[in-house]
């Protein structure tokens, strides 16, 4: 929450253009790969900055790579700096703040940064901004030294030399202690109401006094004509110390008596309760301030949300820079080299870096979105998730539109962001509501948290992750990870940066160490990539999400020997395709175009190896809502989308088609997969080797109310034996037709019955075909089942059905909404009958596992009345 409102007119975020140093042309690193551009390195390092949040630092919002090694860094903006505050004409309407409080604020901000290992080195009067309403001081531009790898990526000095600590100027050593020195000099400036002066007023003169080891603080002040306030003497004695080792830390300074009455700033971060910690205890901030209702956009939106909305509305940071005249449209011809040596060295016109040296923050006004959101009711900003959780009118139609359109509608996104934020704060209790809402769509801004919620990540994830020793050697696996990482989604700037590589390596190693029974397979890197990109600033949450994801969807794929797991998975996938498109499945089967040849990268990496990340985001938004078999439906939907092509192709063409994934329409894949998922009996995709977390999918249905026709109760022993008798892969592969469990059949029949009772029509009609001979059938069978004995031909030579039952059966052949379930007396007969139905391209055929004997044991058969 932003209790004090953002300035939507002047701007609440700003951009700093930064020209980073260019590498000489054609430079190659040790491993033969081109050297990473400095701009890409910066983007990698930005990840850690983006995660920082504290009341006394300005939030980093984005980093964008422009042409010619220009990097635009977007961050929180306030229009008054400390420099202006102490100038001769300070801005009016500012709440009175004491110098003491300002120094306290800066020290608090530094303490926070130092605790995260970040050296600021740019503590200057310009880089401390003052929040208008509260007078709080906030560090701005604090990340440049960190971003630029200690200044290595830029050709200019980071910081202000006049404020730099002795060790920085003398030996270029920069530790957190150099910030303390700068802070002390800033304090001198504050007391002096401006820059430091001495009689000669030269830089050297001032430095000489400041660095004077023999001078006391008081003497230094008097020589610099600073009006020393007594209260700061102790502070300065501890901070204005030449030797870094003797200089106090920010933490020590905060404990000084002078600050005993200072208040730490109020602040609430976008923290969601994935890991339980004190931060989630309700603070006074959670209580709604009525003023928020008056200007909700400025008061009830976080900066991150505002920036996201502005960007969605078409806001373009680079275009803003151009408005300020900061990006010169350079003519391409100017980029031609002046001299090219035979060795390949190139000399170009020297690019002047003056623009990049100022570190000036240029404000961006979000006025673009203000008008468009002016009419939004205040309630939207404070959704009541427990009493009503639905979209406002006018937004409901919007929800049905394609994702790309929804993502560009900022009003819709505002609704969604606010709703999901509220729901996420209630996680894990709100998990069902989150699931329901995610069915509609997931707002990109909150995708990372929504995913972690859908994966039910919880527990002390930071502690868990930190406890894994990621430094231990893994031998051959280390080598494999090392060669795989520089090839993993390298079109993504973050993943191609050294920081991205380092983080991915740590996460992969952590996973391998954390799973002694599993191992690293090529492909795990791709699988980790989406989580790392989303949680680039939070490795522990990225890791926790990956861990739960792998367990749910690809668990045993990472066994040392995964062949049985893979074979079973791919065979069940074939059965699923057969169930939904027998014509296509048979064509592929006849050609020998088996999934082993094309689908291993699909499923082992859950499509991350075949689709770019942007498509993966949409695909997984839906996949995470489904069970561990859902990916098979996505695979089937891909095949079915290109079915006409496949049907017309020979083997070689088919294999070539999938060597590079064809350009499939992801929205359609998702829709088709959803549709198939909804009409497929749950247990058709059962696999022995899948992760069985949700045992309840295999549990008996609840006892029905009143004497329904299909009211069965199964004993637990029967069910577990029934499930345990599911065949091994070798036997499973005898069947092209998938099998369902008896309790699944009972559930479907009862569902159909209950719908019919209410006078409705079930979404699919179930036809149970009993293939035993009529006399056995008459002794006992499932009510309403069709008797089509296997011994009998289905049609006469002239194509007429041989019995009324056959006639009924044949009517269901191509019906999109019917499910044909075969029950037989033994494997051979059932297999043969199913094969015949497949040959006739019957849609949606399944066989009951265990056949009629299982039905009989379960007491589901009754005699003809």
């Amino acid at each position: 929450m932003a209790p004090h409102g953002h300035d939507l007119v002047t701007g609440c975020f700003g951009v700093v253009p930064l020209h980073v140093a260019q590498h000489p042309h054609n430079c190659i690193s040790n491993n033969g790969l081109p050297i990473t551009h400095n701009s890409v390195r910066l983007i990698g390092r930005y990840a850690d900055l983006s995660a920082l949040s504290h009341p006394n630092i300005c939030k980093y919002l984005d980093v964008i790579r422009g042409k010619g090694e220009l990097v635009a860094v977007v961050q929180e903006y306030h229009d008054i700096s400390l420099q202006q505050l102490i100038s001769k004409r300070p801005p009016s309407n500012l709440p009175a703040t004491s110098t003491k409080q300002i120094v306290f604020d800066i020290t608090s901000g530094l303490h926070y940064l130092h605790s995260r290992g970040i050296v600021n080195r740019s503590v200057t009067l310009q880089n401390v901004l003052i929040e208008r309403n509260t007078g709080t001081a906030k560090l701005s531009n604090f990340g440049f030294f960190y971003l630029t790898m200690g200044g290595k990526a830029v050709d200019f000095f980071v910081g202000d030399m006049a404020l730099s600590a002795p060790e920085v100027l003398v030996s270029k050593i920069s530790s957190t202690k150099c910030d303390i020195w700068s802070l002390a000099v800033v304090l001198l400036c504050l007391m002096n109401k401006g820059h430091l002066v001495n009689e000669s007023s030269t830089f050297a003169g001032i430095i000489k006094i400041l660095f004077g080891g023999q001078l006391s603080v008081r003497e230094k002040c008097s020589q610099l004509s600073v009006q020393l306030q007594d209260q700061f003497v102790e502070f300065l004695e501890k901070s204005l110390v030449i030797k870094p080792s003797k200089r106090a830390t920010a933490e020590q300074l905060l404990k000084l008596d002078i600050f005993s009455e200072c208040k730490p700033g109020n602040h609430q971060d976008e923290l969601y309760p994935f890991a339980l910690s004190k931060a989630h205890l309700v603070t006074a901030n959670d209580i709604l301030d009525e003023s928020e209702l008056e200007e909700p956009l400025s008061r009830a939106c976080t900066l991150v949300e505002l920036y996201e909305l502005w960007r969605m509305a078409g806001g373009d940071v680079l275009a803003e820079l151009e408005k300020f005249g900061l990006v010169r449209g350079s003519i391409p011809i100017c980029d031609l080299p002046l001299v090219v040596l035979p060795s390949g060295e190139i000399y170009k016109e020297h690019r002047d870096n003056i623009l990049g040296q100022s570190q000036t923050l240029y404000p961006i006004s979000p006025s673009l979105i203000v008008k468009r959101l002016a009419h939004v009711e205040p309630e939207v900003y404070f959704p009541l998730t427990l009493t009503k959780c639905k979209l406002a009118e006018g937004m409901q139609d919007m929800a049905q539109l394609p994702t790309v359109i929804k993502e560009r509608n900022i009003e819709y996104q505002l609704h969604r962001i606010k709703l999901f934020t509220a729901l996420l704060h209630g996680y894990p209790a709100s998990i069902d509501l989150i699931r329901n809402e995610a069915m509609l769509d997931v707002p990109p801004l909150l995708r990372r948290y929504v995913w972690s919620a859908l994966l039910e990540v919880k527990g002390d994830i930071d502690d868990y992750y930190n406890k894994i020793d990621k430094t231990q050697s893994l031998g051959a696996i280390d080598r494999q990870i090392d060669v795989d990482i520089p090839r993993c989604h390298q079109y993504n700037h973050f993943l191609s940066s050294p920081t991205g590589h380092e983080k991915l390596r740590r996460i992969l190693k952590a996973w391998v160490i954390d799973h002694p029974d599993l191992t690293y397979w090529q492909g795990l890197d791709s699988l980790a990539a989406p989580f790392l990109v989303l949680h680039s600033g939070n490795e522990a949450l990225a890791y926790a999400s990956l861990k739960t994801f792998v367990r749910k969807y690809v668990n045993n794929f990472f066994l040392n020997d995964n062949s049985h797991v893979m074979t079973e998975y791919l065979w069940v996938f074939c059965q699923l395709v057969m169930f939904h498109d027998p014509e296509l499945a048979l064509h592929l089967q006849d050609m020998g175009f088996i999934p082993e040849l094309y689908a291993i990268p699909w499923f082992l990496t859950m499509f991350t190896h075949v689709f770019p990340l942007q498509k993966i985001f949409y695909l997984w938004d839906t996949m995470l809502l489904g069970n561990s078999s859902f990916p098979m439906f996505l695979g089937a939907a891909v095949l079915i989308q290109v079915r006409e092509t496949l049907l017309s192709y020979e083997f070689n063409e088919c294999i070539l088609l999938f060597s590079d994934m064809p350009d499939v329409d992801i929205d359609r894949v998702i829709k088709d997969a959803m549709r198939m998922y909804q009409i497929t009996p749950m247990t058709l995709t059962y696999r022995k080797h899948s992760y069985h977390q949700q045992e309840n999918e295999l549990l008996p249905p609840k006892p029905p109310e009143g004497g329904a026709k299909y009211s069965y109760t199964f004993s637990k022993t029967f069910l577990s034996e029934h499930v345990a008798s599911f065949p091994d892969t070798a036997e499973l592969k005898e069947d092209s037709c998938g099998r369902i469990f008896i309790q699944d059949l009972a559930k479907l029949l009862r569902y159909q019955e209950s719908v019919e009772k209410r006078g409705g029509t079930a979404s699919s009609t179930i036809v149970v075909v009993d293939i035993r001979s009529q006399d056995v059938f008459d002794v006992g069978h499932l009510p309403d089942s069709l008797n089509v004995p296997i011994s009998q031909d289905l049609v006469t030579p002239d194509g007429q059905p041989t019995s009324p039952q056959v006639h009924t059966l044949l009517r269901h052949r191509r019906k999109r909404d019917s499910l044909t379930v075969v029950v037989g007396p033994n494997e051979g007969a059932t297999r043969k009958f199913c094969k015949m139905l497949m040959g006739l391209h019957f849609l949606h055929v399944a066989r009951v596992h265990g056949g009629t004997s299982a039905l009989s044991q379960a007491g589901m058969l009754c005699a003809t009345s």
Binding site: L33, W521, I594, L604, S659
Partner: protein, 212 residues
């Protein structure tokens, strides 16, 4: 669909088809060699191969057009169990190592041994020491590769997928060594057979030299 020429046009009717498999440790440049040979391209950050990839390309030697059906396999040792599926029945193999990495040369040797044991007896094998462009970082001398190849009767070349050096030469040399008679269908020449029980009797078996 993919913009590649259709493979079964009448113009190609005379082409002899051969199944070729690429083997070797991961990140030695198998996919890059194929990409250079088939599309004339090179990607610095070539993605890893999972399972295997399939591509085709034709070369003409001595007036005969030879069409390679190339199976580019995954390099990681774990994917080893899939390898027989691809080299079974292959008429040619390129075993690739990275001249800047000794271990990959050792791995190449073990592939030679495996093919000796498991592949067709008449398989033509080429040993390719890739990344020739990085020869200043070389860890395997050219003489060593060459001597090993001679000893085992392999075609030998140092290649660079990055610059294109020797890449098509390897394929041409292989094509020269291959028999110039149409391999019989439904024999060992069948391109892919994963499961011996399955569809083996089907004449139009997978990828066997298109008769149409």
């Amino acid at each position: 669909m993919s913009g590649r020429p259709r493979q079964n046009g009448p113009a190609q009717a005379k082409a002899l088809q051969f199944k070729l498999v690429l083997l070797g440790e991961s990140a030695v440049g198998k996919s890059s060699l194929v990409l250079r040979f088939v599309k004339g391209q090179f990607h610095e950050y070539q993605e890893t191969t999972i399972g295997a990839a399939f591509l085709t390309q034709t070369v003409t030697v001595d007036g005969v057009t030879v069409k390679f059906e190339i199976w580019d396999t995954a390099g990681q040792e774990r994917y080893h169990s899939l390898a027989p599926m691809y080299y079974r029945g292959a008429q040619a193999a390129i075993i690739v190592y990275d001249i800047t990495n000794r271990d990959t040369f050792e791995r190449a040797k073990s592939w030679v041994k495996e093919l000796d044991r498991q592949a067709r007896k008449d398989i033509v094998i080429a040993l390719a020491g890739n990344k020739f462009d990085l020869s200043n970082k070389r860890m395997v001398e050219v003489e060593e590769g060459s001597a090993y190849a001679q000893e085992h009767n392999l075609i030998f070349m140092e290649t660079s997928a990055k610059t294109g050096d020797n890449v098509s030469n390897v394929f041409v040399e292989i094509a020269k060594m291959l028999p110039k008679v149409e391999p019989k269908p439904n024999n060992n020449g069948q391109t892919v057979r994963i499961d011996d029980n399955q569809e083996a009797q089907n004449g139009g078996g997978p990828g066997c030299c298109s008769k149409n």
